[in-house]
């Protein structure tokens, strides 16, 4: 018994289990590289996490069990129902929220370290520096993620909220103040007021950075903050000399950076430009100009006519967007697809990399509705096929189909890769109104002669078409 307990508290035993844990994280992430291995990959990573936690608890068994049980019980009570009940459409904001609490944990741990060591007295300077770095970045990530959540959940308006040209100066001042407080503490100031000042500056900075960013850029921001939280966790790991934290945090930091970059490329946006903010604002101005240029007419169509067009097509491509997701229309779309396939129509789905506000989000939603994997075409695969497509059915997608991205150099989305639906013989757009999309700009597609608009809620419009089809 005594032997077992000393064995468990041996540092090398802990280290070995940590190595097992992060090997499982890496293996798990490798599993995530394919649809068939992904479920297992995620579970392997979860097993790694359980091993790391249990090893830590066994090793540091002098720990305060009551507090640990309380904290874990609270976390499970909040986290499990939230994860079980969230709708697939609300996934981006859920990721933002889970990311935020991670950042929150990071800065709270730094704060408790500060208090425990009475202002980092008697610890190595590098420990202080990494702990302070974690405090600043964790706090920025916590508050920034909460704002991102609020915007996507529409608690806070999605449009940019900024101080105009003073914004960047304010951000810079907040950053400098936070760093100055950190330098002061590292130089030997033990007063907790300075530390709290540091946290407040970082909190304000998190708010100030994310508030001016428009809704369209939000996934990029969440991804960036995800990387930040990972880095801050790694930093906490160095401060606490904990290998598992360093490895896991850094892997997340690296992956988050890659993802952020991929998303920014898909949207033809640079990360510094996004962080500087104001896309929605600039877009709205350009949109207003664009609206003036369009004297063209919009052709409206009813469900019955749309059904006829679809029924006599030999090839139909469905272009789903966030509007479809919001209306929960994916099951109705699947029904429509079945009806068309029974009539011998070839149906596929063209998925833009950022459809549904996050790379892969649309695939998740369509998977939920049991759309077969091989019907989903990525943009590069879908674009050459639009020319031999009879009808493109655009459901709640807007900016990703806007030909202005190819044809109009003055457009704010010029250069963004789009789905070239305007190449197909005819286009039916299901949309609630003529309001511009997330980027706040007019879509030229709607004024093209081959385009007809079917106004209405995505779900009821698709159901109506399906009903009309059944009667043909």
């Amino acid at each position: 018994m005594i032997l077992a307990s000393t064995f468990l508290q041996d540092q090398s035993f802990l280290d070995v289990l940590y190595i097992v844990a992060f090997a499982l994280f890496i293996q798990g992430l490798r599993g995530l590289s394919g649809p068939t291995t992904a479920v297992r990959g995620n579970r392997i990573a979860a097993v790694g996490m359980v091993i790391a936690i249990v090893a830590t608890l066994l090793n540091k068994s002098e720990g305060n069990w009551g507090l640990i049980v309380l904290g874990v019980a609270l976390g499970v009570a909040v986290g499990v129902p939230a994860a079980r009940q969230v709708k697939m459409t609300a996934m981006p904001q859920m990721v933002a929220l889970f990311n935020g609490v991670g950042g929150g944990a990071v800065f709270l741990i730094s704060w408790s370290e500060f208090r425990l060591t009475h202002g980092y007295s008697g610890v190595a300077t590098y420990v202080t520096v990494f702990s302070l770095f974690a405090a600043i970045v964790g706090s920025v990530s916590f508050w920034g993620s909460n704002i991102a959540f609020g915007k996507l959940q529409e608690i806070i308006p999605g449009r940019p909220i900024s101080l105009g040209s003073a914004q960047q100066i304010v951000n810079l001042v907040l950053l400098i103040l936070a760093i100055a407080a950190g330098v002061d503490i590292a130089a030997g100031d033990h007063s907790q007021g300075v530390f709290i000042g540091l946290l407040v500056c970082a909190a304000l900075l998190g708010n100030a950075v994310v508030l001016p960013i428009g809704g369209a850029d939000m996934p990029v921001v969440i991804s960036l903050l995800n990387a930040f939280t990972g880095l801050s966790a790694a930093s906490t790991g160095i401060a606490l000399n904990n290998t598992a934290l360093i490895v896991a945090g850094m892997i997340v930091g690296a992956s988050g950076t890659i993802l952020t970059n991929l998303m920014a490329v898909a949207m033809n946006r640079s990360i510094p430009a996004i962080v500087a903010g104001g896309f929605g604002g600039a877009g709205a101005v350009a949109g207003a100009e664009g609206a003036g240029e369009h004297a063209g007419t919009v052709k409206s169509v009813g469900a019955a006519d749309a059904a006829i067009q679809l029924a006599y097509a030999s090839r139909v491509v469905i272009v789903p967007g966030y509007g479809m997701a919001v209306a929960q229309a994916q099951h109705a779309v699947r029904e429509l697809t079945k009806e068309l396939e029974q009539r011998g129509v070839e149906v596929s789905y063209a998925i833009h990399p950022v459809a549904g506000r996050m790379p892969g989000h649309m695939n998740v939603l369509l998977a939920e509705a049991d759309v077969p994997y091989d019907q989903l075409k990525e943009m590069d695969e879908a674009n050459p096929e639009f020319q031999r497509t009879d009808v493109s059915l655009v459901i709640g997608a807007n900016d990703v189909t806007n030909p202005a991205a190819k044809n109009t150099p003055s457009s704010p989305i010029y250069g963004m890769p789009i789905l070239e639906v305007n190449e197909s013989r005819s286009v039916i757009v299901i949309k609630r109104s003529m309001n511009p999309g997330f980027a706040g700009i007019e879509n030229e597609l709607y004024y093209e002669p081959e385009t007809s608009m079917l106004f209405g809620d995505a779900k009821s419009a698709v159901s109506e078409i399906t009903a009309e089809l059944a009667e043909l």
């Binding site: 992430l29 995530l32 590289s33 649809p35 068939t36 992904a38 995620n42 996490m49 790391a52 936690i53 830590t56 002098e62 305060n64 507090l67 640990i68 309380l70 904290g71 874990v72 609270l74 976390g75 909040v78 986290g79 994860a83 079980r84 996934m91 990721v95 889970f98 990311n99 991670g102 929150g104 944990a105 709270l108 408790s112 208090r115 425990l116 995800n226 966790a233 790694a234 906490t236 790991g237 160095i238 904990n242 598992a244 934290l245 360093i246 490895v247 896991a248 850094m250 892997i251 997340v252 992956s255 890659i258 990399p353 790379p359 892969g360 998740v364 998977a367 939920e368 049991d370 994997y373």
Partner: protein, 116 residues
């Protein structure tokens, strides 16, 4: 001297982990990016360990204990919520390829009874 070597060892681990992160993750296809984001998000919940370690040290005052309980709760939400949500997303991917995956000879029949 001892501290410096701990630091350099940890920095080496940090740098290598960064490279592993880049290499492993750049292979993930576009369609799995949302689950990947959610999954990596769950992994940084490992910061929970930091809370567990610090709460185990002696000398925490009442206020510090409150902070640490919140930190542990936050870390737990991050981990539990992150892995569960990722699992939910991925389950959908898993159930799909069944009808199509075995179908390498072409689509002769779409009845479900068609054994390979």
């Amino acid at each position: 001297m001892i501290l410096a070597s701990t630091l350099t060892t940890n920095l080496a681990i940090l740098v290598l982990a960064g490279f592993i992160g880049f290499v492993v993750i750049s292979k993930v296809p576009n369609t799995l990016h949302t689950p990947l984001m959610s999954g990596t998000n769950a992994i940084h919940g490992i910061v929970l360990l930091g809370g567990l370690l610090v709460v185990g040290l002696s000398g925490n005052g009442a206020f510090s204990k409150v902070i640490l309980v919140i930190a542990i709760a936050f870390g737990t939400i991050n981990i539990v919520g992150g892995f569960l949500v990722t699992d939910r997303m991925l389950e959908m991917f898993k159930s799909r390829p069944k009808p199509a995956a075995k179908d390498d000879a072409g689509e002769h029949r779409d009845d479900e009874g068609g054994a390979p």
